[in-house]
């Protein structure tokens, strides 16, 4: 391919949304793709649920599962405890399914409408495997070779509104025994796995948004790593919300079987629009004995303009289950986007000797609101968890860390360390910390530290004395502030995340 | 007095992962003698001191450690202390809320009780504390403050020796007691240690520098490297190490 070199440049930036500022003209991902789309009838009813299920040609059990969730959802109340404030959502005034017109499933990239390919290219997401491989002497054929080559290689599942449009590296992953495909496909190709694990971490009736997701989820990613396999490359999903007035309800299910390892990345963007868009995803992770899942997110949904108009409501349920002995789940998130965020990636430390981690950077500016944090539920013996949360609030934004560390009566010898720091830039923002610590074990060791500060004038002065401009000094100090977490990101992601932070905070001083 | 035979021991970190640090160590310190232990950083010197005093996470795998014929490993830390084993910590701990005087008195009486002796009377204790403090040039105010909290590095070390002189132990392990001390303090502390030298006492002095051994003259010097005693000699060995570093001695040992 002629333009491969250019795309290769973008590989390191792969799946990370290109860095965007809050001011609309700096949000590079804010463009809209013009493409003919097919929608479900507007509004939400049993018919909508049937329509979605039918579109996807789902088996009967899944339709029943969705309907049960829908009926349950009707009886539930939208949660109000988070420190976020947004106008009442009219759930009947949205589309619950939007797909690029044409084939429901693309056989190959050549069938994908060029407009969509163009969209991902603009965002720097490599959908053609060759693009990714450029620079490597001859594309690696087997999983073994893949492991040896050290070029950053990432397999991508691209979700465009309600459907997965392309999944790369399928063949190669298959050789390693890894299943990586859209969840709609998995329903057909691996029904036994989907049936066994779907809803096993986030139950159907977990919470208002998760239950809604169960009823109307459209697509998402399915990953299964067989016993003993170290996934040969990073897996990633790139979510793009395009259609107007559509909600996005994707569903991700990752299962790491005994002794396996996978690192998974997730990136998100949406066009700039004046009206709000709802994103209510559910992510379920299952780690079996001695397996490890590393899940990284760079979330850069459109946050709305400086006046708080438009933007994505990001109401997401993410939970990992360290189901058996020695399992480990690690969440890393960089949250710079969305108008309102409501998100608590959590770990259930069920097996003995399991480990849960949560590393988070959240940056809010303009009128963004974020209520985010984690839950670490210690159930097994010698379970360990670690929480590092760094929040930066600027502009007129508000940010809350909300977390729970709970040690059950059987969780002998559990440990938690929590460090939770907030930084305020300017006088019109807010930073809040709401940790819950519940302990029933005398041999548990729980430590929680939190600080709220502003950037130190002394440090700023020091930097400026050495010749840094004010914004550069702020960026430098903020980068220092979030360093602990940046280091937890896969390398290619870290560079990008850093850039993203800088751009997000532009215009926050002076 | 202290006899260590073929000691092998492991250190466990918080996560319960073990690592062998002492790898077949033999050593004998007869009563009345002072032995110095020198060795590169990370050789296992502090590990040995914790092993002998019974710190959690320092587990003997094989070999024996006997003090006057008694197996140390069968005793709890406080029982070993009552038998007279005293460790001057490389990094003394801070105990907030417990004044030095309260602490030392509690320790002294606990040891006496274990040995079936009478408690020390308050006036007697005070008198002794005052004398020892004077000897070590420790300010009386310092003894009222919580143990080691906010003390400087040198002050903490001096306080370890204060406790040692108060408790009059039988077998002393000094783990880098000289580090952090200024020149005057080094002399004062050494005088304190020398005051305890007697026919019934044994001492193990862990140090990196000859300067301490100028003051506390050792009978024997051992080099601990990689979990073993690799060379032993008289005081001249320390002088040689000071001049040449460890390379020569280690090479000879390996040969």
């Amino acid at each position: 391919m002629a333009d491969d070199a250019k795309v290769k440049q973008g590989v390191d930036e792969a799946t990370v949304a290109a860095a965007r500022a809050l001011e609309s003209d700096k949000y590079d991902a804010g463009f809209e793709t013009e493409i003919e789309q097919e929608f479900a009838p507007k509004g939400l009813s049993e018919d909508t649920v049937r329509f979605i299920s039918d579109k996807k040609g789902e088996p009967e059990w899944l339709l029943e599962w969705r309907l049960a969730a829908y009926r349950k959802w009707l009886t539930m109340q939208e949660p109000t405890w988070a420190m976020v404030d947004y106008p009442t959502i009219d759930y009947q005034d949205a589309y619950y399914y939007a797909a690029p017109k044409g084939e429901a499933k693309y056989e190959s990239l050549d069938d994908v409408p060029p407009e969509i390919l163009e969209t991902y290219k603009k965002l720097g997401i490599p959908l053609r495997e060759a693009e990714v491989l450029l620079g490597v002497e001859g594309a690696a054929e087997t999983a073994a070779e893949v492991r040896e080559s050290d070029s950053p290689r990432i397999a991508v599942d691209a979700v465009f509104d309600s459907v997965s449009v392309a999944t790369t590296f399928q063949k190669e992953l298959k050789q390693a025994g890894v299943i990586f495909m859209s969840i709609s496909e998995a329903v057909h190709e691996h029904p036994e796995l989907v049936k066994k694990y779907l809803g096993s971490v986030v139950p159907q009736s977990d919470n208002f948004f998760a239950t809604l997701n169960c009823a109307v989820f459209s697509d998402g990613t399915f990953v299964y790593i067989p016993p003993g396999v170290r996934c040969p490359m990073e897996l990633s999903t790139y979510f793009r919300m395009n259609a107007k007035g559509t909600g996005q309800f994707e569903r991700t299910l990752i299962i790491a079987d005994k002794g396996s390892y996978v690192s998974y990345l997730e990136g998100c963007t949406a066009p700039m629009r004046d009206e709000n868009q709802l994103h209510a995803a559910v992510v379920e992770l299952v780690a079996l004995e001695d397996a490890e899942i590393k899940y990284s997110t760079v979330q850069n949904w459109w946050p709305g303009d400086a006046e708080g108009k438009g933007g994505v409501y990001n109401f997401v349920t993410k939970r990992g289950d360290c189901r058996e002995r020695g399992a480990k789940i690690s969440w890393t998130q960089v949250e710079t986007g969305s108008a309102v965020t409501w998100k608590y990636p959590s770990c259930i430390l069920r097996g003995d000797d399991t480990v849960g981690e949560f590393y988070s950077i959240a940056v809010t500016n303009g009128k963004q609101q974020a209520d985010t944090g984690t839950k670490m539920i210690h159930l097994g013996k010698n379970t360990k968890s670690r929480i590092i949360s760094k929040g930066v609030s600027a502009g007129k934004s508000n940010q809350t860390y909300r977390g729970l560390v709970s040690v059950g009566a059987k969780a002998k010898g559990s440990r938690n360390f929590t460090q939770c720091d907030s930084l305020l830039i300017g006088q019109t923002c807010g930073a809040h910390t709401v940790p819950y610590i519940e302990n029933k074990r005398a041999d548990a060791q729980l430590e929680h530290e939190a600080t709220t500060t502003k950037l130190s004038d002394d440090q700023l002065f020091y930097c400026r004395q050495r010749g840094l401009g004010e914004e550069a000094a702020v960026a430098l100090l903020v980068n220092g502030f979030v360093r602990d977490v940046i280091q937890k990101l896969p390398m290619e992601f870290a560079v990008e995340a850093q850039k993203l932070l800088e751009v997000s905070l532009e215009g926050s001083v002076g | 007095m202290l006899v260590l035979k073929d000691l092998v021991a492991r250190v466990e970190n918080e996560d319960g992962e073990g690592k062998e640090i002492i790898k077949g160590l033999s050593l004998e310190v007869p009563a009345g003698e002072v032995h110095a232990i020198m060795g590169p950083n990370g050789a296992g010197k502090s590990t040995l001191s914790y092993l002998l005093t019974g710190r959690d996470g320092y587990t003997p795998i094989s070999g024996t450690a006997e003090l006057n014929g008694e197996n140390l490993f069968e005793l709890d830390p406080e029982e070993r202390a009552a038998k007279g084993v005293f460790l001057s910590f490389q990094y003394p701990l801070e105990i907030p809320g417990v004044p030095v005087m309260t602490f030392v008195r509690t320790a002294m009486n606990a040891q006496r009780k274990t040995r079936g002796e009478d408690e020390i009377s308050a006036p007697e204790f005070l008198k002794k504390a005052r004398e020892v403090a004077k000897l070590l040039k420790i300010d009386a105010d310092m003894l009222k403050r919580p143990l080691n909290v906010g003390f400087s590095g040198g002050e903490k070390k001096r306080l370890e020796i204060f406790q040692m002189l108060m408790l009059e132990p039988k077998f002393l392990i000094l783990d880098e007691t000289d580090s952090g001390l200024d020149i005057d303090a080094l002399r004062i502390v050494s005088d304190g240690v020398n005051a305890l030298r007697s026919d019934e006492r044994g001492m193990l002095v862990i140090t990196h520098y000859q300067r301490l051994l100028d003051h506390i003259k050792p009978d024997r010097v051992h080099v601990l490297a990689n979990g073993r005693i690799v060379a032993s000699g008289g005081p001249e060995l320390a002088l040689r190490l000071e001049k040449e570093g460890y390379d020569g001695v280690l090479a000879e040992a390996a040969a």
């Binding site: 405890w81 420190m83 009566a409 907030s422 305020l424 830039i425 300017g426 006088q427 019109t428 923002c429 807010g430 930073a431 809040h432 910390t433 709401v434 940790p435 819950y436 610590i437 519940e438 302990n439 029933k440 074990r441 005398a442 041999d443 548990a444 060791q445 729980l446 430590e447 929680h448 530290e449 939190a450 600080t451 709220t452 500060t453 502003k454 | 019974g54 959690d56 709890d76 830390p77 406080e78 070993r80 202390a81 009552a82 005293f86 460790l87 910590f89 003394p92 701990l93 105990i95 907030p96 809320g97 417990v98 602490f103 030392v104 509690t106 320790a107 606990a110 040891q111 274990t114 408790l167």
Partner: protein
Amino acid sequence: MPDVIDKIDPGVARFAEILSKFGEDPRRQRAFDAFASVGIPHRRVENWRWSDIRAGLKSIDGAAPVAVPADPFADVLGAVFRFSDKGFQPPAKRPAGVQYYSKSDAPAFASAEELPMGALAAALADDPAAVVIEIAAPLAEPIRLVFDGQSDRFHHVAIILREGAQATILESCLSGGGFANAVIEYTLEKGASAERLVMQSGGASTVQLHTAKVALAADARFSQTVYATGSKLCRVETRLVHEGSHSEAILNGAYLLGDGYHCDFTSHVRHADEDCKTEQAVKGAALAGGKGAFQGKFYVKRGAQRTDANMQHNALLLEDGAEINAKPELEIYADDVACAHGNTCGALDADQLFYLRQRGIPEAEAKALLTRSFVADAFAEISDEALQELFLDAAHAWLTEVR
């Protein structure tokens, strides 16, 4: 809004009946409505998740009272204002610099919505409806407030320290039985200084709610230390507002809980003006069957620049079967602040324990010593040495007797 209207909470009805005996009284009614809109708090009411009053009251219903615990302040000099189930008993002699009034009409209870259970005490306080104590000068001796009794009781006290006044106020919060619910309003005018020392002790079949509302004008200083051993269900709550600049607050305390005892330290500190300072150190320890909770919140209002606020809660679970929960919270809308909180929960420090044992102190004794010094930190701000000793002795006694 919770649906109190559809299903009348029988607990609420019980108190409504008491209210009805006061006839038409808009102030009482307003305070009562604030309570009724929440109802009797239970586990699913966010601010009461670890203090289920509904269950607590149910469990002591019909239980026989025990003797009122001894008053640790009994031998301390000072005028005694006694509030018991037999009504109010003023001191024999009015101390110099102090005025007091028994109110037969209930005064308004401001911010009732924020303190629904305090509002309930204000709505139902009887005989008298409230006692107002005014302090106009620095006092030579402490003032003592003794709250005790064996049956249900409600008290409302207001303490006003005029500009430049200084006082030590000792509160004994003792209960042998019933539902003891008292609310005390502290108002400190410019430059006033108060030291509030609270000793709480109760039986295993009593519910105690002891709530203070504190308002600090500019340059005022308020130093509080609480020692509690809990009861069937006990909550010591403080809601403090820095209304003027350069005011200072200390909110320290310790709770030690044996089998069957519960105690909840809840505090809310609002920094509404610049340059104010709050220091909070709370220590807790529980044995098997003991349940402790700490809920602390610092709220910094927009513009309250240079706020300096630090919150520490450290808890020890002395045995399995103990339970301690904590929620140290920050809500901050000003940027030039230094706010921090720390929370630890677990067992004694293993290295310290080893150090003590190396010096020959047996394990059990070493543990007791460390626990005592752990708790002692919470009493460090008590200005009078003899009173500090009293707190230390009380904790020591608990550690040697109950343990």
